[in-house]
Protein backbone atom coordinates (compact mmCIF):
# COMPACT_ATOMS: atom_id res chain seq x y z
CA UNK A 1 0.00 0.00 0.00
CA UNK A 2 2.73 2.41 1.08
CA UNK A 3 4.97 1.50 -1.84
CA UNK A 4 2.09 1.83 -4.28
CA UNK A 5 1.38 5.36 -3.02
CA UNK A 6 5.05 6.30 -3.49
CA UNK A 7 5.24 4.78 -7.00
CA UNK A 8 2.06 6.61 -7.99
CA UNK A 9 3.40 9.92 -6.76
CA UNK A 10 6.78 9.48 -8.44
CA UNK A 11 5.05 8.67 -11.71
CA UNK A 12 2.82 11.76 -11.54
CA UNK A 13 5.72 13.98 -10.52
CA UNK A 14 7.91 12.66 -13.34
CA UNK A 15 5.10 13.29 -15.82
CA UNK A 16 4.64 16.83 -14.52
CA UNK A 17 8.34 17.68 -14.73
CA UNK A 18 8.58 16.09 -18.20
CA UNK A 19 5.68 18.24 -19.35
CA UNK A 20 7.46 21.38 -18.11
CA UNK A 21 10.72 20.38 -19.78
CA UNK A 22 8.98 19.64 -23.10
CA UNK A 23 7.25 23.01 -22.87
CA UNK A 24 10.52 24.76 -22.07
CA UNK A 25 12.34 23.40 -25.12
CA UNK A 26 9.35 23.57 -27.43
CA UNK A 27 8.85 27.29 -26.69
CA UNK A 28 12.55 28.09 -26.22
CA UNK A 29 12.03 29.45 -22.70
CA UNK A 30 14.87 30.51 -20.42
CA UNK A 31 15.69 28.96 -17.04
CA UNK A 32 13.95 31.94 -15.46
CA UNK A 33 10.58 30.78 -16.73
CA UNK A 34 11.10 27.01 -16.53
CA UNK A 35 14.31 25.66 -14.97
CA UNK A 36 16.33 23.04 -16.84
CA UNK A 37 17.03 19.63 -15.35
CA UNK A 38 20.56 20.75 -14.43
CA UNK A 39 19.18 23.76 -12.55
CA UNK A 40 16.62 21.53 -10.83
CA UNK A 41 19.33 19.09 -9.80
CA UNK A 42 21.61 21.84 -8.46
CA UNK A 43 18.72 23.51 -6.63
CA UNK A 44 17.63 20.24 -5.05
CA UNK A 45 21.19 19.78 -3.69
CA UNK A 46 21.13 23.29 -2.37
CA UNK A 47 17.75 23.26 -0.60
CA UNK A 48 16.86 19.63 0.05
CA UNK A 49 18.14 19.66 3.64
CA UNK A 50 16.36 22.85 4.61
CA UNK A 51 13.17 21.85 2.80
CA UNK A 52 13.15 18.44 4.51
CA UNK A 53 13.06 20.17 7.90
CA UNK A 54 10.38 22.57 6.62
CA UNK A 55 8.17 19.82 5.27
CA UNK A 56 8.46 17.80 8.50
CA UNK A 57 7.44 20.92 10.42
CA UNK A 58 4.44 21.31 8.11
CA UNK A 59 3.53 17.63 8.40
CA UNK A 60 3.73 17.82 12.19
CA UNK A 61 1.22 20.68 12.26
CA UNK A 62 -0.97 18.95 9.63
CA UNK A 63 -1.12 15.72 11.67
CA UNK A 64 -2.19 17.53 14.82
CA UNK A 65 -4.65 19.64 12.83
CA UNK A 66 -6.11 16.55 11.23
CA UNK A 67 -6.38 14.79 14.55
CA UNK A 68 -8.23 17.77 16.03
CA UNK A 69 -10.56 17.96 13.06
CA UNK A 70 -11.31 14.23 13.33
CA UNK A 71 -12.16 14.68 17.02
CA UNK A 72 -14.30 17.72 16.30
CA UNK A 73 -16.05 16.06 13.37
CA UNK A 74 -16.79 12.98 15.49
CA UNK A 75 -18.08 15.17 18.29
CA UNK A 76 -20.34 17.19 16.00
CA UNK A 77 -21.29 14.13 13.96
CA UNK A 78 -22.29 12.13 17.04
CA UNK A 79 -24.10 15.10 18.65
CA UNK A 80 -25.87 15.95 15.44
CA UNK A 81 -26.81 12.42 14.37
CA UNK A 82 -30.30 12.60 15.92
CA UNK A 83 -33.10 14.40 14.08
CA UNK A 84 -33.70 16.59 17.12
CA UNK A 85 -33.66 20.38 17.44
CA UNK A 86 -30.21 20.25 19.03
CA UNK A 87 -28.91 17.90 16.33
CA UNK A 88 -30.10 20.21 13.57
CA UNK A 89 -28.67 23.25 15.35
CA UNK A 90 -25.23 21.64 15.67
CA UNK A 91 -25.25 20.67 12.00
CA UNK A 92 -26.35 24.11 10.76
CA UNK A 93 -23.76 25.85 12.97
CA UNK A 94 -21.03 23.51 11.76
CA UNK A 95 -21.93 24.05 8.10
CA UNK A 96 -22.13 27.83 8.49
CA UNK A 97 -18.65 28.07 9.95
CA UNK A 98 -17.34 26.49 6.79
CA UNK A 99 -19.22 28.89 4.54
CA UNK A 100 -16.48 31.52 4.97
CA UNK A 101 -13.44 31.03 2.76
CA UNK A 102 -10.40 30.41 4.88
CA UNK A 103 -8.34 33.09 3.14
CA UNK A 104 -10.87 35.66 4.34
CA UNK A 105 -10.70 34.44 7.93
CA UNK A 106 -6.95 33.83 7.97
CA UNK A 107 -5.89 37.49 8.46
CA UNK A 108 -8.15 37.72 11.54
CA UNK A 109 -6.63 34.52 12.91
CA UNK A 110 -3.12 35.85 12.34
CA UNK A 111 -3.91 39.17 14.01
CA UNK A 112 -5.42 37.45 17.04
CA UNK A 113 -3.05 34.53 17.40
CA UNK A 114 0.10 35.80 15.69
CA UNK A 115 1.93 33.91 12.97
CA UNK A 116 3.08 30.98 15.06
CA UNK A 117 2.08 27.39 15.60
CA UNK A 118 -1.50 28.01 16.76
CA UNK A 119 -2.56 29.90 13.62
CA UNK A 120 -1.17 27.22 11.33
CA UNK A 121 -2.86 24.52 13.39
CA UNK A 122 -6.22 26.23 13.44
CA UNK A 123 -6.25 26.87 9.68
CA UNK A 124 -5.15 23.30 8.93
CA UNK A 125 -7.91 21.94 11.17
CA UNK A 126 -10.52 24.26 9.64
CA UNK A 127 -9.68 23.27 6.08
CA UNK A 128 -9.81 19.52 6.61
CA UNK A 129 -12.66 19.51 9.11
CA UNK A 130 -15.62 20.05 6.79
CA UNK A 131 -15.28 17.02 4.49
CA UNK A 132 -14.66 14.96 7.62
CA UNK A 133 -17.80 16.35 9.17
CA UNK A 134 -19.93 15.60 6.11
CA UNK A 135 -18.75 12.01 6.07
CA UNK A 136 -19.14 11.51 9.82
CA UNK A 137 -22.61 13.08 9.91
CA UNK A 138 -23.60 10.92 6.93
CA UNK A 139 -22.35 7.74 8.57
CA UNK A 140 -23.67 8.51 12.04
CA UNK A 141 -27.12 9.52 10.80
CA UNK A 142 -27.52 6.30 8.80
CA UNK A 143 -28.96 3.47 10.95
CA UNK A 144 -27.83 -0.14 10.49
CA UNK A 145 -31.35 -1.64 10.92
CA UNK A 146 -30.42 -5.35 10.98
CA UNK A 147 -28.09 -5.00 13.95
CA UNK A 148 -29.61 -2.04 15.74
CA UNK A 149 -33.09 -3.61 15.77
CA UNK A 150 -31.85 -6.50 17.91
CA UNK A 151 -30.36 -4.22 20.55
CA UNK A 152 -33.39 -1.95 20.54
CA UNK A 153 -35.82 -4.79 21.00
CA UNK A 154 -33.74 -6.23 23.82
CA UNK A 155 -33.54 -2.72 25.31
CA UNK A 156 -29.74 -2.85 25.41
CA UNK A 157 -29.08 -0.03 23.00
CA UNK A 158 -26.99 2.84 24.38
CA UNK A 159 -25.61 5.78 22.37
CA UNK A 160 -22.05 4.47 22.67
CA UNK A 161 -23.15 1.15 21.17
CA UNK A 162 -25.04 2.89 18.39
CA UNK A 163 -21.94 4.92 17.44
CA UNK A 164 -19.77 1.83 17.59
CA UNK A 165 -22.08 -0.19 15.33
CA UNK A 166 -22.33 2.57 12.74
CA UNK A 167 -18.58 3.25 12.79
CA UNK A 168 -17.74 -0.44 12.46
CA UNK A 169 -20.15 -0.98 9.57
CA UNK A 170 -18.61 2.01 7.70
CA UNK A 171 -15.00 1.54 8.67
CA UNK A 172 -13.71 1.42 5.06
CA UNK A 173 -15.57 4.62 4.26
CA UNK A 174 -14.19 6.30 7.39
CA UNK A 175 -10.64 5.22 6.59
CA UNK A 176 -10.92 6.61 3.05
CA UNK A 177 -12.21 9.93 4.38
CA UNK A 178 -9.44 10.16 6.97
CA UNK A 179 -6.77 9.36 4.37
CA UNK A 180 -8.28 11.94 2.00
CA UNK A 181 -8.45 14.55 4.72
CA UNK A 182 -4.69 14.18 5.27
CA UNK A 183 -4.21 15.92 1.91
CA UNK A 184 -6.52 18.72 3.02
CA UNK A 185 -4.76 19.09 6.37
CA UNK A 186 -1.42 19.36 4.60
CA UNK A 187 -2.86 21.81 2.06
CA UNK A 188 -4.41 23.85 4.89
CA UNK A 189 -1.13 24.09 6.75
CA UNK A 190 0.71 25.09 3.58
CA UNK A 191 -1.91 27.77 2.84
CA UNK A 192 -1.53 29.13 6.39
CA UNK A 193 2.25 29.19 6.07
CA UNK A 194 2.06 30.77 2.65
CA UNK A 195 -0.23 33.55 3.82
CA UNK A 196 1.59 34.65 6.89
CA UNK A 197 3.53 32.16 8.96
CA UNK A 198 7.27 32.31 9.30
CA UNK A 199 8.14 28.64 9.06
CA UNK A 200 7.19 25.48 7.22
CA UNK A 201 7.31 24.54 3.55
CA UNK A 202 4.52 27.00 2.63
CA UNK A 203 6.68 29.82 3.93
CA UNK A 204 9.64 28.55 1.91
CA UNK A 205 7.45 28.45 -1.20
CA UNK A 206 6.46 32.06 -0.58
CA UNK A 207 10.12 33.09 -0.36
CA UNK A 208 10.88 31.15 -3.56
CA UNK A 209 7.99 32.97 -5.23
CA UNK A 210 9.37 36.34 -4.13
CA UNK A 211 12.70 35.30 -5.62
CA UNK A 212 10.96 34.11 -8.81
CA UNK A 213 12.72 30.79 -8.32
CA UNK A 214 10.58 28.11 -9.93
CA UNK A 215 13.25 25.45 -9.37
CA UNK A 216 12.86 25.80 -5.61
CA UNK A 217 9.09 25.54 -5.97
CA UNK A 218 9.40 22.34 -8.03
CA UNK A 219 11.71 20.84 -5.38
CA UNK A 220 9.28 21.90 -2.64
CA UNK A 221 6.44 20.20 -4.50
CA UNK A 222 8.48 17.01 -4.63
CA UNK A 223 9.08 17.15 -0.88
CA UNK A 224 5.41 17.80 -0.16
CA UNK A 225 4.23 15.04 -2.48
CA UNK A 226 6.58 12.35 -1.24
CA UNK A 227 5.91 13.19 2.43
CA UNK A 228 2.17 13.17 1.89
CA UNK A 229 2.31 9.86 0.02
CA UNK A 230 4.18 8.22 2.90
CA UNK A 231 1.78 9.70 5.44
CA UNK A 232 -1.30 8.55 3.50
CA UNK A 233 0.22 5.10 3.06
CA UNK A 234 0.79 4.88 6.80
CA UNK A 235 -2.79 5.99 7.52
CA UNK A 236 -4.16 3.33 5.17
CA UNK A 237 -2.01 0.75 6.95
CA UNK A 238 -3.30 1.87 10.33
CA UNK A 239 -6.88 1.67 9.01
CA UNK A 240 -6.31 -1.94 7.98
CA UNK A 241 -4.82 -2.82 11.36
CA UNK A 242 -7.80 -1.26 13.16
CA UNK A 243 -10.20 -3.19 10.95
CA UNK A 244 -8.39 -6.48 11.56
CA UNK A 245 -8.35 -5.86 15.31
CA UNK A 246 -12.08 -5.10 15.41
CA UNK A 247 -13.08 -8.09 13.33
CA UNK A 248 -10.97 -10.50 15.36
Amino acid sequence: MLLRRIYQFLLIYALGVSFLIVLKYALGLSDYVIPSLTVLWNTSHEVLGAYSIDVISTLFVAIIGQFLSILLALLVGISGRKATWFGSFIKVAAYNVQAYPIVAIAPIIFILLGDGFLSRLLIAAMICYFPMLLAVVGIMSEPVPDIELFYRQTQRMRWQLEVKIRAFENLSKLTTVIVGSATLAMAGTIVAEFIAASEGIGYSIRIALYQSDLAKIVVALFMIGITLSVYQGVLEGVGQIVKRTWTR
Binding site: L29, S30, Y32, V33, F110, D115, Y210, Q211
Partner: protein, 356 residues
Protein backbone atom coordinates in the same frame (compact mmCIF):
# COMPACT_ATOMS: atom_id res chain seq x y z
CA UNK B 1 -17.65 45.50 -34.65
CA UNK B 2 -16.86 41.78 -34.44
CA UNK B 3 -16.38 39.65 -37.60
CA UNK B 4 -19.73 37.87 -37.20
CA UNK B 5 -21.69 41.11 -37.15
CA UNK B 6 -19.65 42.41 -40.10
CA UNK B 7 -20.61 39.33 -42.14
CA UNK B 8 -24.24 39.74 -41.09
CA UNK B 9 -24.13 43.39 -42.14
CA UNK B 10 -22.60 42.37 -45.46
CA UNK B 11 -25.36 39.81 -46.08
CA UNK B 12 -27.99 42.41 -45.25
CA UNK B 13 -26.28 44.73 -47.70
CA UNK B 14 -26.45 42.16 -50.48
CA UNK B 15 -30.17 41.69 -49.89
CA UNK B 16 -30.53 45.43 -50.05
CA UNK B 17 -28.77 45.56 -53.45
CA UNK B 18 -31.70 43.88 -55.19
CA UNK B 19 -33.95 46.77 -54.20
CA UNK B 20 -31.81 49.73 -55.16
CA UNK B 21 -30.30 51.12 -58.36
CA UNK B 22 -26.83 50.41 -59.79
CA UNK B 23 -25.08 53.62 -58.77
CA UNK B 24 -26.08 53.13 -55.18
CA UNK B 25 -25.07 49.45 -55.44
CA UNK B 26 -21.50 50.51 -56.18
CA UNK B 27 -21.35 52.95 -53.25
CA UNK B 28 -22.76 50.38 -50.89
CA UNK B 29 -20.23 47.75 -51.97
CA UNK B 30 -17.39 50.22 -51.43
CA UNK B 31 -18.65 51.03 -47.93
CA UNK B 32 -19.08 47.36 -47.03
CA UNK B 33 -15.60 46.49 -48.29
CA UNK B 34 -14.17 49.36 -46.26
CA UNK B 35 -15.92 48.07 -43.15
CA UNK B 36 -14.58 44.57 -43.81
CA UNK B 37 -11.08 45.83 -44.44
CA UNK B 38 -11.07 47.77 -41.21
CA UNK B 39 -12.42 44.94 -39.13
CA UNK B 40 -10.18 42.23 -40.52
CA UNK B 41 -7.04 44.35 -40.30
CA UNK B 42 -6.59 44.78 -44.09
CA UNK B 43 -4.49 47.89 -44.48
CA UNK B 44 -4.47 48.24 -40.74
CA UNK B 45 -3.06 51.55 -39.66
CA UNK B 46 -0.77 52.14 -36.75
CA UNK B 47 -3.68 53.66 -34.80
CA UNK B 48 -4.97 50.17 -34.05
CA UNK B 49 -1.83 48.70 -32.49
CA UNK B 50 -2.76 46.95 -29.31
CA UNK B 51 -0.21 46.32 -26.60
CA UNK B 52 -0.40 44.67 -23.23
CA UNK B 53 1.25 46.23 -20.23
CA UNK B 54 1.69 44.39 -16.93
CA UNK B 55 2.08 46.62 -13.88
CA UNK B 56 4.12 45.56 -10.87
CA UNK B 57 1.39 45.99 -8.30
CA UNK B 58 -2.27 46.97 -7.95
CA UNK B 59 -3.15 50.40 -9.28
CA UNK B 60 -2.25 53.01 -6.68
CA UNK B 61 -0.20 56.20 -6.63
CA UNK B 62 2.90 54.27 -7.72
CA UNK B 63 1.21 53.84 -11.11
CA UNK B 64 -0.07 57.40 -11.47
CA UNK B 65 1.82 58.11 -14.69
CA UNK B 66 0.58 54.90 -16.28
CA UNK B 67 -3.08 55.58 -15.60
CA UNK B 68 -2.68 59.25 -16.48
CA UNK B 69 -1.29 58.34 -19.91
CA UNK B 70 -4.19 55.97 -20.46
CA UNK B 71 -6.97 58.27 -19.28
CA UNK B 72 -5.70 61.38 -21.02
CA UNK B 73 -5.33 59.71 -24.39
CA UNK B 74 -1.53 59.80 -24.63
CA UNK B 75 -1.40 56.21 -25.85
CA UNK B 76 -4.16 56.92 -28.33
CA UNK B 77 -2.22 59.90 -29.68
CA UNK B 78 0.57 57.47 -30.47
CA UNK B 79 -1.87 55.11 -32.17
CA UNK B 80 -1.87 52.58 -29.37
CA UNK B 81 -4.55 50.73 -27.51
CA UNK B 82 -2.97 49.69 -24.22
CA UNK B 83 -4.43 46.91 -22.15
CA UNK B 84 -3.14 47.71 -18.68
CA UNK B 85 -3.07 44.76 -16.31
CA UNK B 86 -2.64 45.05 -12.55
CA UNK B 87 0.26 43.23 -10.92
CA UNK B 88 0.68 41.47 -7.61
CA UNK B 89 3.06 39.19 -5.76
CA UNK B 90 2.23 36.24 -7.99
CA UNK B 91 2.56 38.26 -11.20
CA UNK B 92 5.90 38.49 -12.87
CA UNK B 93 6.07 40.77 -15.89
CA UNK B 94 9.39 39.33 -17.08
CA UNK B 95 8.06 35.78 -17.12
CA UNK B 96 4.96 36.99 -18.95
CA UNK B 97 7.11 38.76 -21.55
CA UNK B 98 8.86 35.51 -22.32
CA UNK B 99 5.64 33.55 -22.44
CA UNK B 100 4.17 36.13 -24.80
CA UNK B 101 1.40 37.13 -22.38
CA UNK B 102 2.46 40.76 -22.28
CA UNK B 103 4.46 43.22 -24.40
CA UNK B 104 5.71 45.60 -21.73
CA UNK B 105 5.88 45.45 -17.98
CA UNK B 106 7.15 46.99 -14.80
CA UNK B 107 9.83 45.18 -12.82
CA UNK B 108 12.36 46.06 -10.18
CA UNK B 109 16.10 45.77 -10.73
CA UNK B 110 16.44 42.63 -8.63
CA UNK B 111 13.83 40.90 -10.80
CA UNK B 112 15.67 41.98 -13.95
CA UNK B 113 19.02 40.80 -12.59
CA UNK B 114 17.59 37.46 -11.40
CA UNK B 115 16.04 36.93 -14.84
CA UNK B 116 19.21 37.96 -16.69
CA UNK B 117 21.20 35.52 -14.57
CA UNK B 118 18.94 32.75 -15.83
CA UNK B 119 19.18 33.68 -19.48
CA UNK B 120 15.95 35.61 -19.87
CA UNK B 121 16.05 37.96 -22.88
CA UNK B 122 14.66 40.90 -20.90
CA UNK B 123 15.73 44.49 -21.56
CA UNK B 124 15.09 47.69 -19.62
CA UNK B 125 13.94 50.73 -21.56
CA UNK B 126 13.25 53.22 -18.76
CA UNK B 127 13.65 53.61 -15.03
CA UNK B 128 10.50 55.11 -13.56
CA UNK B 129 11.64 55.65 -9.98
CA UNK B 130 14.94 57.45 -9.54
CA UNK B 131 14.81 56.63 -5.83
CA UNK B 132 13.65 53.39 -4.26
CA UNK B 133 10.37 53.94 -2.37
CA UNK B 134 11.26 51.32 0.22
CA UNK B 135 12.11 52.78 3.62
CA UNK B 136 11.72 51.74 7.26
CA UNK B 137 9.30 53.54 9.56
CA UNK B 138 10.10 53.84 13.29
CA UNK B 139 8.79 55.58 16.40
CA UNK B 140 11.08 58.46 17.20
CA UNK B 141 10.41 58.31 20.92
CA UNK B 142 11.50 54.67 21.01
CA UNK B 143 14.39 54.68 18.56
CA UNK B 144 16.71 57.46 17.64
CA UNK B 145 18.46 56.40 14.47
CA UNK B 146 21.11 58.88 13.45
CA UNK B 147 23.55 56.39 12.04
CA UNK B 148 23.36 52.78 10.94
CA UNK B 149 25.13 51.62 14.08
CA UNK B 150 21.98 52.73 15.96
CA UNK B 151 20.28 49.68 14.45
CA UNK B 152 22.15 47.52 16.96
CA UNK B 153 19.74 45.64 19.20
CA UNK B 154 16.68 46.67 17.22
CA UNK B 155 13.86 44.40 16.06
CA UNK B 156 13.59 45.03 12.33
CA UNK B 157 10.84 43.86 9.99
CA UNK B 158 11.97 42.34 6.68
CA UNK B 159 10.17 40.31 4.06
CA UNK B 160 12.45 37.31 3.73
CA UNK B 161 13.19 36.64 0.09
CA UNK B 162 12.25 40.12 -1.12
CA UNK B 163 14.49 43.04 -1.89
CA UNK B 164 13.92 44.69 1.50
CA UNK B 165 15.78 41.77 3.09
CA UNK B 166 18.76 42.33 0.79
CA UNK B 167 18.70 46.09 1.37
CA UNK B 168 18.57 45.69 5.15
CA UNK B 169 21.37 43.12 5.12
CA UNK B 170 23.45 45.56 3.06
CA UNK B 171 22.78 48.34 5.58
CA UNK B 172 23.71 46.04 8.45
CA UNK B 173 26.90 45.01 6.68
CA UNK B 174 27.75 48.67 6.16
CA UNK B 175 27.25 49.29 9.86
CA UNK B 176 29.48 46.32 10.65
CA UNK B 177 26.60 44.58 12.41
CA UNK B 178 25.96 40.87 12.14
CA UNK B 179 22.61 39.08 12.41
CA UNK B 180 23.08 38.31 16.09
CA UNK B 181 23.21 41.99 16.92
CA UNK B 182 19.73 42.72 15.56
CA UNK B 183 16.49 40.78 15.49
CA UNK B 184 15.01 40.32 12.03
CA UNK B 185 11.25 39.80 12.16
CA UNK B 186 9.33 38.28 9.26
CA UNK B 187 6.93 40.81 7.76
CA UNK B 188 3.41 39.54 7.20
CA UNK B 189 0.10 40.97 6.10
CA UNK B 190 -0.60 43.44 8.85
CA UNK B 191 1.32 46.03 10.84
CA UNK B 192 0.41 44.62 14.26
CA UNK B 193 4.03 43.84 15.29
CA UNK B 194 4.95 47.46 14.57
CA UNK B 195 1.87 49.01 16.15
CA UNK B 196 2.29 46.86 19.25
CA UNK B 197 5.96 47.83 19.28
CA UNK B 198 7.26 44.29 19.02
CA UNK B 199 9.19 45.57 16.01
CA UNK B 200 11.18 48.79 16.11
CA UNK B 201 11.41 49.30 12.36
CA UNK B 202 8.96 48.21 9.70
CA UNK B 203 9.36 48.39 5.90
CA UNK B 204 6.95 50.67 4.03
CA UNK B 205 6.66 52.27 0.64
CA UNK B 206 7.28 55.92 1.29
CA UNK B 207 4.83 57.17 -1.34
CA UNK B 208 1.87 54.95 -0.42
CA UNK B 209 1.74 53.03 2.89
CA UNK B 210 4.02 55.47 4.70
CA UNK B 211 1.69 58.38 3.94
CA UNK B 212 -1.32 56.53 5.29
CA UNK B 213 0.30 54.97 8.35
CA UNK B 214 2.34 58.06 9.11
CA UNK B 215 -0.80 60.16 9.20
CA UNK B 216 -2.67 57.67 11.42
CA UNK B 217 0.17 57.53 13.90
CA UNK B 218 0.70 61.29 13.94
CA UNK B 219 -3.03 61.72 14.54
CA UNK B 220 -2.65 59.36 17.48
CA UNK B 221 0.08 61.60 18.90
CA UNK B 222 3.04 59.46 17.86
CA UNK B 223 6.19 60.86 16.31
CA UNK B 224 7.46 58.75 13.45
CA UNK B 225 10.51 58.98 11.22
CA UNK B 226 11.90 56.99 8.31
CA UNK B 227 15.17 55.24 7.62
CA UNK B 228 16.01 55.81 3.96
CA UNK B 229 18.69 53.42 2.63
CA UNK B 230 19.67 56.02 0.01
CA UNK B 231 20.84 58.32 2.82
CA UNK B 232 23.40 55.65 3.61
CA UNK B 233 24.53 55.17 0.04
CA UNK B 234 22.35 52.13 -0.80
CA UNK B 235 20.58 52.86 -4.08
CA UNK B 236 18.73 49.72 -5.02
CA UNK B 237 16.82 50.38 -8.26
CA UNK B 238 13.05 49.90 -8.13
CA UNK B 239 10.29 50.19 -10.77
CA UNK B 240 11.52 50.13 -14.36
CA UNK B 241 9.93 49.49 -17.72
CA UNK B 242 10.91 46.20 -19.32
CA UNK B 243 10.27 44.51 -22.62
CA UNK B 244 11.77 41.62 -24.54
CA UNK B 245 14.91 42.00 -26.65
CA UNK B 246 12.90 40.60 -29.53
CA UNK B 247 10.24 43.29 -29.26
CA UNK B 248 12.92 45.97 -29.25
CA UNK B 249 14.66 44.45 -32.28
CA UNK B 250 11.58 43.71 -34.34
CA UNK B 251 9.28 46.59 -33.45
CA UNK B 252 11.45 49.53 -32.39
CA UNK B 253 8.82 52.01 -33.61
CA UNK B 254 6.17 50.46 -31.42
CA UNK B 255 8.49 50.51 -28.42
CA UNK B 256 9.31 54.14 -29.11
CA UNK B 257 5.65 55.12 -29.37
CA UNK B 258 4.72 53.25 -26.20
CA UNK B 259 7.56 54.71 -24.20
CA UNK B 260 6.96 58.22 -25.50
CA UNK B 261 3.31 58.09 -24.43
CA UNK B 262 4.11 56.51 -21.08
CA UNK B 263 6.82 59.00 -20.13
CA UNK B 264 4.62 61.84 -21.27
CA UNK B 265 1.98 60.47 -18.91
CA UNK B 266 4.46 60.41 -16.03
CA UNK B 267 5.71 63.91 -16.76
CA UNK B 268 2.15 65.24 -16.81
CA UNK B 269 1.08 63.29 -13.73
CA UNK B 270 3.82 64.67 -11.52
CA UNK B 271 3.35 68.22 -12.76
CA UNK B 272 1.95 70.29 -9.90
CA UNK B 273 -0.49 71.93 -12.31
CA UNK B 274 -2.12 68.54 -13.03
CA UNK B 275 -2.38 67.34 -9.43
CA UNK B 276 -6.16 67.19 -9.45
CA UNK B 277 -6.30 65.26 -12.71
CA UNK B 278 -3.59 62.88 -11.51
CA UNK B 279 -5.45 62.11 -8.28
CA UNK B 280 -8.68 61.64 -10.22
CA UNK B 281 -6.93 59.20 -12.58
CA UNK B 282 -5.77 57.00 -9.71
CA UNK B 283 -9.01 57.38 -7.78
CA UNK B 284 -10.88 55.79 -10.64
CA UNK B 285 -9.21 52.50 -9.67
CA UNK B 286 -8.18 52.99 -6.06
CA UNK B 287 -11.43 53.74 -4.26
CA UNK B 288 -10.20 52.82 -0.79
CA UNK B 289 -7.74 55.64 -0.31
CA UNK B 290 -9.06 59.02 0.82
CA UNK B 291 -8.60 61.84 -1.65
CA UNK B 292 -6.70 64.02 0.83
CA UNK B 293 -4.19 61.22 1.38
CA UNK B 294 -3.79 60.82 -2.36
CA UNK B 295 -2.47 64.36 -2.71
CA UNK B 296 0.20 63.57 -0.12
CA UNK B 297 0.95 60.32 -1.92
CA UNK B 298 1.28 62.18 -5.20
CA UNK B 299 3.67 64.62 -3.60
CA UNK B 300 5.81 61.74 -2.30
CA UNK B 301 5.70 60.00 -5.68
CA UNK B 302 6.83 63.17 -7.40
CA UNK B 303 10.05 63.06 -5.39
CA UNK B 304 10.69 59.46 -6.45
CA UNK B 305 10.25 60.08 -10.16
CA UNK B 306 12.37 63.21 -10.40
CA UNK B 307 16.09 63.21 -9.79
CA UNK B 308 18.13 65.75 -7.92
CA UNK B 309 20.43 66.13 -10.91
CA UNK B 310 17.50 67.11 -13.14
CA UNK B 311 17.71 64.12 -15.45
CA UNK B 312 14.83 63.40 -17.82
CA UNK B 313 11.88 61.27 -16.64
CA UNK B 314 12.74 57.61 -17.18
CA UNK B 315 16.47 58.18 -16.96
CA UNK B 316 18.37 54.95 -16.32
CA UNK B 317 20.83 55.47 -13.52
CA UNK B 318 23.73 53.21 -14.53
CA UNK B 319 25.61 53.63 -11.26
CA UNK B 320 22.56 52.56 -9.25
CA UNK B 321 22.02 49.53 -11.51
CA UNK B 322 25.64 48.52 -11.11
CA UNK B 323 25.37 48.90 -7.35
CA UNK B 324 22.20 46.79 -7.30
CA UNK B 325 23.98 44.02 -9.19
CA UNK B 326 26.97 44.27 -6.88
CA UNK B 327 24.75 43.99 -3.79
CA UNK B 328 22.96 40.94 -5.19
CA UNK B 329 26.27 39.31 -6.02
CA UNK B 330 27.62 40.03 -2.54
CA UNK B 331 24.56 38.48 -0.91
CA UNK B 332 24.62 35.38 -3.08
CA UNK B 333 21.42 36.28 -4.92
CA UNK B 334 23.22 35.63 -8.19
CA UNK B 335 26.19 33.37 -8.75
CA UNK B 336 28.14 35.57 -11.14
CA UNK B 337 27.99 38.99 -12.74
CA UNK B 338 25.32 39.45 -15.38
CA UNK B 339 26.60 42.80 -16.70
CA UNK B 340 23.26 44.39 -16.17
CA UNK B 341 24.29 47.59 -17.94
CA UNK B 342 24.10 45.64 -21.21
CA UNK B 343 20.38 45.16 -20.50
CA UNK B 344 19.69 48.89 -20.26
CA UNK B 345 18.63 49.99 -23.74
CA UNK B 346 18.18 53.58 -24.67
CA UNK B 347 15.40 53.79 -27.21
CA UNK B 348 16.58 55.70 -30.28
CA UNK B 349 14.84 58.89 -31.28
CA UNK B 350 13.06 59.38 -27.96
CA UNK B 351 12.12 62.93 -27.14
CA UNK B 352 12.95 62.98 -23.47
CA UNK B 353 10.40 64.29 -21.01
CA UNK B 354 12.09 66.88 -18.86
CA UNK B 355 11.11 67.18 -15.23
CA UNK B 356 8.27 69.64 -14.73
Amino acid sequence: MDPVSVIAAFQDGLKELKLIDNSRKFSLVVVLLAVLATNFGIGRVAADDQVRYRLKWLINMSTVGDVYAEQHGFFKEEGLRVMMKEGGPERDAIRELEMGHTDFGVASADQVIHAAAKGSPVVVIAQLFQANPLQWIYFQNRSDINSLSDLKGKAIGVTFGKNDEIIMRTLLAQAGLNENQVRLISVRLDYTPFYTKQADLWPVYINTQAVEIGRKLRDAGEKVAFLDPADHGVRFVANSIVTSARMLDEQPQLVRRFLRALLKGWAAAIDQANAEKAVAAVQKYDRNTAKALMYDQLHATRRLVTSETGEAIGHMDSAAWEQTEHIMLTHGQIEKKVNVLERLKKVDGMVTQRQP
